[in-house]
Every structure is written in structure tokens, then in C-alpha cells.
């Protein structure tokens, strides 16, 4: 009986972790409520540099991170090979890829401290000091 319950509990936890949303967050003091996916894409690719007069600092998670893979696939619409070729072009014009932070916690802390920064985290890690500007379903 306990074994079955434990299995069900693990399955429930896994489905919660796999499901849910990725939220794009910005400092709560920035006067922006929502942005469409198209604008998020431009910000991540550094094609858009400002928001309400603020210089934007897009943030990324490490290349092997599962959220990053989903963001590349669903927001950028690119696979890793396409992403790297895109940044080759930008690099040779002096534009570097977004700053990479090691964890979602680091992204949260950075966004809270730096007003123009935009990062993404799992919705489960959201707290009230961050403002959500775009939601992406994980599945």
C-alpha cells in the first residue's frame, strides 16, 4: 500500500516538475506589464536594446539547462546550431550573447538588483519581488 502511494507521489511530483511554465521576469519597478513573444525574442537576440528608456540586459542559463533549451526552441525558434551561427555574426559586430548565470536563483537575484535585466525561471520559483512579463508553457 505504502509502495503504491509512494509511486503515485513521485509520479505527481515529476508531472509538476515537467509541466508548469517558464516565466520571463523583470525588476518590479519597471513600468511594463506584459510583452509579446516577438518582443521577448528580439530582446534575447539583442535586436531590441531598450525598454521604456532602460538599457536592457538579457540573461541566459547555462547551455545544458533544460529551460534554456525550451526557450531556444519555443521563443527563439532555433536549434543550438542556428543559435551559435546567429551569435557568430553578432560577435563579429561587437555584440555578445546574453550574460549567462549559473542558476535560476542567480537570475532572480540579478533581476532584483539590476533594473534593465530580463531573465527566465520556472514559475514555481517565482516570488513577489519579480514582475512577470511573459509566460511560456513548458509542454
Amino acid at each position: 500500500m505504502w509502495g503504491i502511494l509512494r509511486t503515485l507521489l513521485i509520479a505527481l511530483c515529476m508531472s509538476t516538475a515537467m509541466g508548469g511554465e517558464i516565466v520571463f521576469v523583470i525588476n518590479k519597478d519597471v513600468q511594463v506589464d506584459k510583452l509579446p513573444k516577438k518582443e521577448i525574442r528580439k530582446i534575447l537576440l539583442k535586436k531590441r536594446k531598450f525598454l521604456k528608456g532602460l538599457k536592457l540586459i538579457p540573461l541566459n542559463l547555462p547551455p545544458e539547462n533544460g529551460l534554456r533549451k525550451l526557450v531556444e526552441e519555443k521563443v527563439l525558434g532555433m536549434d543550438r546550431e542556428e543559435v551559435e551561427l546567429y551569435w557568430n555574426k553578432s560577435y563579429l559586430h561587437g555584440v555578445e550573447p546574453p550574460l549567462v548565470l549559473n542558476s535560476e536563483e542567480a537570475v532572480k537575484e540579478f533581476v532584483k538588483k539590476v533594473k534593465g535585466s530580463i531573465g527566465y525561471i520556472s514559475s514555481e520559483k517565482l516570488d513577489e519581488d519579480l514582475k512577470v512579463i511573459y509566460r511560456l508553457k513548458k509542454e
Binding site: K38, R48, G53, E84, Y91, G94, E96, P97
Partner: protein, 333 residues
């Protein structure tokens, strides 16, 4: 030792002295980051081979060093020097060139989303090909003729650029001064004025239009050019094309007008990961000397790593004696 050589040596000493310090790291294909100075040092190298009926040559096409970074939050700089064709073997004869050229040198002022200012020597922001003329960025070793005979590839002056509502982008550029390393350009100009306007129709399709005029230095010709370009891109396929037209006042022909036009259509297909097949058709016609070229290029582009590319192509020309094979290897560091 020239100024540029002294600068390189100083830069290398600087890089070496900060290498072991905190806040310095090398990222493959993205340069050496010197975080305390907000500076990146990187570059690229290309080797090539070319063979046709009368000519066989190989060598180092270019070796470039880039330095860029931020002086302040909204003020950036970019500097690129290049050893161009510094070692070649042409039909068995060795040629060595030891000239360092300043390819780009500019300051960027980011004012807002709509207006940004660039001052110095920069790549002329015209068309699809010219902004990506660097070997590692191109799908083929060769360039289509639209990129060579219609406008100066570099401008030394002022550029205003930015994004406009409705997914529009614009570039305005002016030059009315001596160019930096002005002979390192396809045209040496007395003055240049021009614009490029681009529109993203959606994530896959973008269109562009350009218009400009320039006066050749120490020559009577003034050229006016305009062009159209389009690019369609999906995961596996990229189709792009450009059309350029220029008319030219030729005083030595009694002030009469001459024209030249060129276009290309290129398809790139990702056959398998890291492997791309390229097919390009290009046309060029110049009324002044009645020349006409039609070139069909078949190419292969292999990228074992994002910062390393091996390319090979075969050009079929109207007169088969001018058919050509080209290959190159490029490394971005």
C-alpha cells in the same frame, strides 16, 4: 615597426599580463573576455585554395584581430586590424605581404531604441552580403558581384541607425572626409551618402531597400546606386537574393551615363547537422565595357564546430575555361 604592429604587440602584452588574473576568461569562438576592462579580444583566420584553367593559388586570405568593449554603459568601441592576403603562392611563386590594415575603427553611442550613432570606419550597412563579408560568416568562399561593384564596402564617417515601430530598421551613413586606411576598400571615395531600410515581415522573412551616391576620389565618376534584398529562413532552408543597380557619370565618355546591374539568388539547405549545401546563381552586366557574367556556384559548407568552417565550391561560368574551384578553412577565436 609600424603603429599598428606596435599596437598589436602592446595588446598581446596586455592580454598576457591579465590572462592569469581574476575576471579574465576565454570563450571558444567568442574571444578573451577581460571583464575588469569591459573588453573582448578575439579574431579570425582564413586559408584558401583557388584553381582554374590558368591559375592556381593558395595562401592565408586574412588574419584579423578584434578588440571591442564598453567605455561607458552606452558608449562602445570596436577596432579591427587585418593582415590581408599576407601569404600567397600563385602558380608556384611565393608572395608575402606585410601590411596591416585598419578594417574597422569606430565608437558607438546608444541613445535610444530609435537613434544610435556610430562614428569612425565601419562596414557600409548596405544589402545582405556586405555586412557578413567575413569568410567564416559566409556560406561560400567567393562573393557575389553585387557586393563588389556598386558601393564602397567601408565608410569612414557617421552612421545613424535604429529600430522603428512595425519591425522596421534603418541605417543612414555619410562620409565627407578622407577614409581611414582608405585604400583598403573597393572604392576610394571623396564623399558617400546612403541609406538602407529593412523590414521584418515575420520571423522568417525580411526585406530590404537601399539607395546612395558616392564620388570617386581623384576621378571624375560619380555613382548612384539602389538595391533590393530579401531573405527567407527556416530551420533547414535559407533563401536569399539581392539586386543592385548603379548608374555612373563617365566624363571620359563625354559626360554620358553608363550603368551596371547585378543580382543573385542563393539557396542554402542544411542536409544534415553541420553540413550545408549551397546553390547560387549570379548575374552581372556593365554597359561601359559591355561585360556580362553569369555564374552558377555549387558549394558545400561543413561546420564541425560553430567557430570552425571548411568550404568548397565550384563555379560554372558562361565560358567554361573560366570555371573555377575554390576552397577555404576559417577559424574564429
Amino acid at each position: 615597426m609600424g603603429h599598428a604592429a606596435r599596437f598589436i604587440v602592446s595588446l598581446l602584452i596586455l592580454a598576457a599580463s591579465v590572462w592569469a588574473q581574476e575576471g579574465v576568461k576565454y570563450v571558444k569562438g567568442r574571444g578573451l573576455k577581460i571583464i575588469p576592462l569591459n573588453m573582448t579580444i578575439g579574431g579570425y583566420v582564413s586559408l584558401y585554395y583557388q584553381k582554374d584553367k590558368n591559375l592556381e593559388k593558395f595562401g592565408a586570405e586574412d588574419a584579423a584581430l578584434l578588440v571591442f568593449g564598453k567605455i561607458k554603459d552606452r558608449i562602445g568601441y570596436f577596432f579591427e586590424i587585418e593582415l590581408d592576403d599576407f601569404y600567397q603562392v600563385v602558380n608556384g611563386k611565393e608572395r608575402v605581404k606585410r601590411k596591416i590594415d585598419i578594417e574597422r575603427l569606430y565608437l558607438d553611442f546608444e541613445i535610444n531604441e530609435y537613434v544610435n550613432l556610430r562614428l569612425g570606419k565601419f562596414i557600409t550597412p548596405v544589402g545582405l552580403w556586405n555586412p557578413i563579408y567575413i569568410n567564416i560568416l559566409k556560406w561560400t568562399t567567393s562573393d557575389p558581384l553585387t557586393a563588389e561593384y556598386f558601393f564602397p564596402q567601408f565608410t569612414t564617417g557617421v552612421q545613424l541607425y535604429g529600430n522603428l515601430p512595425g519591425d522596421w530598421r534603418y541605417f543612414l551613413f555619410f562620409q565627407r572626409n578622407k577614409g581611414i586606411d582608405e585604400n583598403y576598400n573597393n572604392f576610394v571615395s571623396k564623399w558617400i551618402i546612403g541609406t538602407e531600410v529593412e523590414k521584418d515581415i515575420n520571423e522568417n522573412l525580411s526585406l530590404g531597400f537601399n539607395l546612395g551616391k558616392f564620388k570617386l576620389k581623384n576621378k571624375p565618376e560619380t555613382l548612384t546606386f539602389w538595391g533590393l534584398n530579401a531573405k527567407y529562413q527556416t530551420h533547414l532552408l535559407e533563401v536569399s537574393g539581392e539586386f543592385m543597380y548603379a548608374w555612373e557619370k563617365e566624363d571620359y565618355l563625354g559626360g554620358s551615363l553608363s550603368y551596371r546591374l547585378s543580382y543573385y539568388l542563393q539557396g542554402v539547405y542544411r542536409v544534415m547537422p553541420k553540413n550545408y549545401a549551397v546553390l547560387r546563381y549570379g548575374f552581372f552586366r556593365d554597359k561601359s565595357d559591355h561585360s556580362r557574367y553569369r555564374i552558377l556556384t555549387l558549394g558545400w559548407n561543413f561546420r564541425p564546430s560553430y567557430n570552425f568552417v571548411i568550404k568548397a565550391e565550384y563555379q560554372l561560368r558562361e565560358r567554361s575555361e573560366f570555371n573555377k574551384f575554390l576552397a577555404s578553412v576559417s577559424w574564429l577565436f
